[in-house]
């Protein structure tokens, strides 16, 4: 059972490296953002499996934390790619 958990950790690491190839290679910015989002999701899954492998519940806050960080990073990068800025200042004349 521990062997199967370790095997799934190796598979998740393989998936992370596959996404890393797309981050390095990807022709456009959107490719890199999608691959970075997938890397964040996979890291969260990897942390959860690592917690199950070590039989410790101390890592489960980290799953939520990595998920929230990956989502916010994806949203900020997508907004930056779409309009060239992330936040709208209230007194910005170019606000839309």
């Amino acid at each position: 059972m521990q062997t199967l958990l370790f095997l799934s950790m190796i598979l998740l690491a393989l998936a992370i490296f596959g996404c890393l190839y797309r981050v390095l290679k990807g022709p456009s910015l959107a490719d890199r953002i999608a691959a970075l989002d997938t890397i964040g999701v996979n890291i969260a899954a990897e942390v959860a499996v690592a917690g199950a492998y070590m039989r410790s519940t101390a890592y489960f806050e980290l799953v939520l934390l990595i998920g929230i960080l990956a989502f916010l990073g994806t949203v900020a990068l997508a907004r930056y790619m779409e309009r060239g800025k992330v936040l709208n200042a209230p007194d910005d004349p170019a606000r839309d």
Binding site: M9, G18, V41, N42, A45, V49, V63, G67, F71, T74
Partner: protein, 161 residues
């Protein structure tokens, strides 16, 4: 609960974790091999979300059976990933289309360009100058979307590796 049922649930949870890890590997494979941003985000969003949901459900069942602790953090993580992962994929695809990332050569139909053109033409006819003075780039978007399909823009196909 009898020991055999707990053991069966434990094995089921480990198999769920393994299935989720395999789905993540397939998702990364699709992310590498598919030719286009939009097709890649299809692979990166759907199967990756299903994979992480399988993994987290398996971890929850593993801790419920092997250590008799129900972790609410993992349940919250399941709900959170189920909501946010497709949302991030949608945001990324929309931003890619609006910033002009070209479609694949083999794309047979671009319904969003037709919809943008159909929604844009009566509005620009009635609004007149205010529409043209709009600094948000709406006119550029329509023009670009109209000429996207047959335009001379070089479209990077599947990479030659």
């Amino acid at each position: 609960m009898p020991q055999t049922i707990l053991l069966a649930i434990e094995w089921l949870s480990v198999l769920l974790i393994l299935a989720g890890a395999l789905l993540s590997v397939f998702s990364a494979f699709g992310l590498i091999r598919l030719p286009d941003v939009y097709l890649r985000s299809h692979a990166a969003t759907k199967s990756s979300t299903l994979g992480v949901l399988c993994v987290l459900t398996g971890v929850f069942l593993y801790f419920a059976s092997a250590m008799q602790t129900a972790s609410m953090n993992v349940l919250l993580g399941i709900v959170f990933f189920f909501i946010t992962a497709p949302l991030a994929g949608h945001l990324n695809g929309r931003a890619a289309y609006r910033s002009g990332v070209p479609l694949w050569n083999g794309t047979v139909r671009d319904e969003l360009a037709e919809a943008i053109k159909a929604a844009g033409s009566p509005r620009s006819g009635t609004a007149g100058d205010t529409e043209a003075a709009d600094p948000s780039g709406g006119a550029d978007l329509r023009e670009e979307a109209g000429t996207r399909r047959g335009g001379p823009t070089p479209i990077p196909g599947p990479e030659e590796d």
